[in-house]
Symmetry: C2
Subunit: 266 residues, 2 copies
């Protein structure tokens, strides 16, 4: 593959991001070979259709965009991985929690019978409560989970996993303001950007999906690929403030955050 | 508004994220009043249609999802702000750079004549090169920029801004592997997660849009709101690795990152 590329005439196509790649030329090590996906050997991942590890992200009315897109961006370039947006109500646009953005679901939940990785994003109160009471969704999640390699959530997505009974007796995390509700699912709140227990990984709120995505990338491939993906999305965070967790923010900031969420909710 | 809410009977709706808000009860300070948007007083932001500060995110075939969704997630809950996805080719789904995800553009570029904030996301080589050669897009960007309060980019979006001539003689940043190309735009590469100069803000690669989004939130509202939004998206990053910049990653990681980007490109 690298050989074939070397035979191509130079074009502008590879310029913008290819400057450094061009400089290393044919000396580059092919990731597909050296860091080949583990599932190919173990045979526990691939689905029949295209031989890739299938990551299914469940989209439902009122989900939070970044919960889905953070892990997506990190995972979609991992060799041998295919990320698919799966719509609760069917294929097509699914509206996020503020009602201002839609992501397109490529497949309908009812048509997806298997995934190697399931990812359930969080959402606003309305959307998450609907999913917590949706027995068709619970059946689907349990069915996918039975044969999954990893079953994961971001933010309040863990409360949806919890509603299916999958978190009973397990350590887990969720959105900071929702921690008390893990108890209802029989789970024990455990601090961390993500919590892995068996084949279940729950991430903390919204942006924590990026951190979990990098961890998942290493699980689905290896650390080299995960480190490269961190650089590929230039994830060298340096927020102008330091109020990203309830422990670091004061009471007024916590109150205001909840009010902004509430006011923007549809 | 808070009063009206207090009169409501308790329902499950406010439960998940509202636990802490419930605890503070009527003592909460209304953000809309205490931290009222600056543009209402200065009158330089609002568009006639709904009185809100209009943020236009330009979506084009081959853009990078997280470049758009990172700032979106931070800005869409800032009081008085409305984020709209604007499609280069029209309304409807716009495919991202890996061809596995579409975001829906709510409005067509040709129908948008004004925005208070313009945000140009980066993308894969194919998409960005197309935009760098698209004179209709350049005319539109220059027209919006003339009356904008802020003109911004994420990742290689700065190369699109650069192609319009807007960065000539200015400090700017871009995706790490594209830094040499800022020179073609007459701009000077300047380190930082984002670089502000006059009313132009350029962000570094992909995830840097979240950091810039928080900064923009403070500019469009105030620091209290920006800090609250950092907590609202629980942006307390703790990646499992520390290879998020080319200075922190070794040569093999840089090569692999570029190869993964190249292999996943459509």
């Amino acid at each position: 593959m690298r050989m074939a590329e070397a035979r191509r005439k130079p074009s502008r196509r590879g310029l913008l991001r290819g400057a450094a790649a061009g400089a290393v030329g044919a000396g580059v090590v092919a990731a597909g070979g050296a860091t080949g996906p583990a599932w190919a050997a173990s045979g526990n991942g691939a689905t029949p259709d295209d031989g890739r590890v299938q990551v299914a992200v469940l989209l439902y009315d009122g989900f939070t965009a970044l919960d889905a897109v953070g892990p997506f961006e990190v995972l979609c370039r991992v060799p041998g991985v295919r990320v698919t947006m799966v719509g609760r109500a069917g294929k097509g646009p699914v509206l996020t929690d503020t009602g201002e953005l839609s992501l397109v679901a490529e497949r309908a939940m009812r048509d997806v019978h298997r995934a190697d990785v399931l990812l359930v994003p969080g959402g606003g109160n309305r959307g998450v409560l609907a999913m917590m009471g949706d027995t068709e969704v619970h059946d689907w999640i349990r069915r996918i989970h039975r044969r999954s390699t990893w079953t994961t959530s971001v933010c309040t997505g863990s409360l949806i996993l919890g509603a299916t009974g999958l978190l009973r007796g397990l350590p887990a995390t969720t959105y900071w303001a929702s921690r008390p509700f893990l108890k209802d699912a029989g789970a024990t709140y455990t601090p961390g950007r993500f919590v892995e227990t068996g084949k279940i990984i729950t991430a903390a709120g919204v942006s924590a999906g990026i951190d979990m995505g990098l961890h998942l990338a290493s699980r689905l491939s290896d650390e080299k690929v995960a480190r490269a993906m961190q650089l590929a999305v230039e994830y060298d965070p340096d927020p102008p403030y330091d109020t990203g967790s309830p422990e670091k923010a004061d009471a007024a900031t916590r109150e205001l955050a909840l009010k902004l969420l509430d006011d923007a909710a549809t």
